[in-house]
């Protein structure tokens, strides 16, 4: 699964397709900026993100470009540090979702056995609860550690992925080349890996971006609610909520992390939108 996906992502058609539209170009630019800040920003931070340096909620000035936060820490430094956690958690959650949900979808879509209805019914149950509620419940039960956050987010993203992969698999399962492989006695595993997967990787790539951005939203929201990553760790979502007390004196303490999150998500969304459009056009879909 990951091999086919990696080659798809590496291929020039992927990036070329995205960069052919204006929306895609803007999205790619925003994505690179936000991810660059999230991963490498900390090496340019002027201060430690944890040190109290002055009056809480001080407006910009005195060498603090974005002012100070609710306990007097440098907002710029915290913003430069605060993206990696969310990006890392959401990325890992998306990857795990695809490994598990994709496998479920492949198996369910390819088997005519009782497996398909069983898998799909259990997924229907997951869909009857609001996503954030599932995460809240799991955090209540198992605490808000990174492992729980990743597992809970994956669980929430899983039904959608399984459904999409399943219907795409069903679409190619009756094609000639798959039937030929069945006829010559290939193992199911080999058929799924060699015949089915390469032919649904376009659908998967188009869906990947949407899941990733939803993962970012969920993780950031949980952190915002105060039940995910805990203080004093710098995190964009958490920064937005903890600095609400200094809204009047230094609104930048809230706006900076909010805008960075927005840039990251909008970048991902514009890229996946551009990819989906490009794919529709080249593969003759509506």
């Amino acid at each position: 699964m990951s091999v086919a996906l990696a080659s798809r992502l590496r291929s020039r058609r992927f990036l070329g397709g995205i960069l052919r539209t204006n929306g895609g170009r803007v999205g790619f630019g925003l994505f690179v900026i936000a991810v660059g800040i999230a991963i490498f920003g900390r090496y340019f931070a002027p201060y430690s993100p944890l040190d109290t340096l002055g009056i809480p909620g001080a407006a910009p000035g005195n060498g603090h470009l974005l002012g100070l936060d609710f306990i007097g820490r440098d907002v710029l430094s915290r913003a430069l540090y605060g993206g990696r956690s969310t990006l890392f958690l959401a990325g890992l959650a998306t990857l795990i979702t695809y490994l598990i949900g994709g496998t479920i979808g492949l198996v369910a879509g390819f088997s005519d056995t009782v497996l398909d209805p069983i898998l799909m019914r259990s997924i229907d149950v997951l869909l009857t609860v609001p996503a954030l509620l599932v995460i809240l419940l799991l955090v209540t039960a198992f605490g808000g550690g990174s492992f729980v956050l990743i597992a809970a987010t994956s669980l929430v993203l899983l039904p959608g992925v399984a459904r999409i992969v399943r219907s795409a698999t069903m679409g190619v399962a009756t094609r000639g080349y798959v039937e030929a492989a069945i006829a010559r006695g290939d193992s199911t595993h080999a058929i799924l890996r060699r015949e089915v997967l390469p032919n649904i990787s376009g659908v998967i790539t188009a869906d990947l971006g949407l899941r990733f951005s939803w993962g970012i939203i969920l993780i950031a929201s949980v952190n915002f609610l105060g039940i995910g990553i805990q203080p004093p760790t710098p995190d964009w979502g958490l920064m937005v909520s903890e600095n609400r007390v200094v809204l009047a004196s230094n609104p930048l303490a809230i706006i900076a992390p909010a805008v960075l999150l927005g840039v990251l998500i909008v970048g991902v969304n514009l890229m996946s939108d551009a990819y989906a459009r490009q794919r529709d056009r080249s593969e003759g879909h509506q």
């Binding site: 009857t128 609001p130 509620l133 419940l137 799991l138 039960a141 706006i255 998500i265």
Partner: protein, 355 residues
């Protein structure tokens, strides 16, 4: 086929619409297909809700500290803990606890709040403490829904008709951007604009105890705007796609070729057939409100069911978490069933095809 297009569960697809009535051996009673569909859909809804309630119950019962620990706090001794656990019924097997909890709900009782017990409040029952948050949330959600439905339909149909023209781009691109943002980002930006910069609206939506949020309508503006931003944006996209699809069907083309006026083609032919799709979209957005309200209420400190739930999660008050969760899950399911039924009744074709 039709079912999967509408997002209905595949087990609702065609089946013989006759059942053998119990107690009347050999005589086949014909139940109207639509009635059978309603019954099956309701039964499926109740069943999933039961499964969900079990899962929610299990989730909250694996927490190390139970309600008794929270109630007694630091003053807990082993013997006082045991006594309280016995009074609260926490020493019984899990399935017995579940059944009595379920029985309580059916009688309108959600048990007592552990935190309220710990503070020796006069009335620790959740049923009374959850009432006002629930009403507040219904007000917030209701106002949003009333604005959401026409906005989604009008903008969606408009962009669908004008697909790939300037009007479409002017609406579709911003809605793609705005709909993708998390509620708390949108909310914070709105607070910045309308409070920090313009000083027009309050940054928090506090409601004094015993008062209705409708007494001070201006506190509702920003929360409603935030919810609308996310829900309308995603709704427009789907209604737009449905409209484009219908406009390409043969029978719309033939209506045009027959010389029927474009307005009539759009209203009588295209839009009527885009209805099924749109209802599902609206239902999804109403469902979204049930979850979206959790974060939006937190952004504006609005005292609704979402704030209630988050506070309960942070306090590890299991009974409160259970009550709020099951109410939200029930709402979610009700909206889902309602939409499925509405579609079947509004689109006659489906009535015969589905059942």
């Amino acid at each position: 086929m039709v079912g999967s297009q509408l997002g209905l569960a595949p087990d609702l697809e065609p089946e013989i619409p006759t059942v053998v009535a119990p107690g009347m051996p050999g005589r086949r009673v014909h139940i109207h297909p639509a009635a059978l569909f309603v019954l099956k859909r309701l039964a499926a809804g109740v069943l999933t809700l039961l499964v969900v309630s079990v899962l929610i119950f299990i989730c909250t019962s694996v927490i190390p500290g139970n309600a008794a620990v929270i109630t007694l706090g630091k003053s807990a001794t082993a013997s006082s803990l045991q006594r309280l656990e016995a009074t609260l019924g926490l020493n019984r097997p899990l399935y017995q606890q579940y059944l009595s909890w379920l029985g309580g709900i059916l009688h309108g009782s959600f048990g007592d709040s552990a935190v309220a017990l710990a503070h020796h409040q006069v009335d620790p029952s959740i049923a009374s403490s959850i009432k006002n948050p629930l009403i507040n949330s219904f007000i917030l959600g209701g106002i949003t829904a009333i604005l959401l439905i026409p906005l989604t339909l009008v903008l969606g149909v408009l962009t669908g008709i004008k697909a790939n023209k300037a009007v479409d781009h002017a609406i579709s691109l911003p809605s793609l951007v705005i709909a993708g943002l998390p509620e708390f980002v949108t909310g914070s930006l709105l607070i910045y604009i309308f409070f920090s910069e313009l000083n027009l609206l309050p940054p928090v939506s506090l409601v004094p105890p015993g008062q209705s949020p409708l007494a001070t309508p201006n506190i509702l503006v920003l929360p409603v705007l935030t919810l609308l931003a996310v829900a309308v944006g995603s709704g427009i996209r789907q209604v737009r796609l449905g409209m484009i699809e219908v406009l390409q069907t043969d029978f719309v083309q033939f209506a045009r070729l027959n010389g029927i006026g474009e307005r009539r083609v759009l209203v009588r032919y295209a839009m009527r057939n885009a209805i099924a799709n749109s209802i599902q979209t609206i239902a999804q957005n109403l469902q979204y409100l049930v979850g979206g309200i959790i974060v939006v209420e937190a952004v504006f400190a609005y005292p609704g069911i979402g704030t209630y739930l988050v506070t309960a999660v942070l306090a590890r008050d299991t009974n409160e978490v259970l009550a709020a969760s099951i109410i939200l899950a029930a709402l979610y399911t009700v909206i889902n069933i309602g939409a499925d039924l509405l579609v079947v009744f509004l689109v006659p074709k489906l009535r015969t095809e589905l059942v």
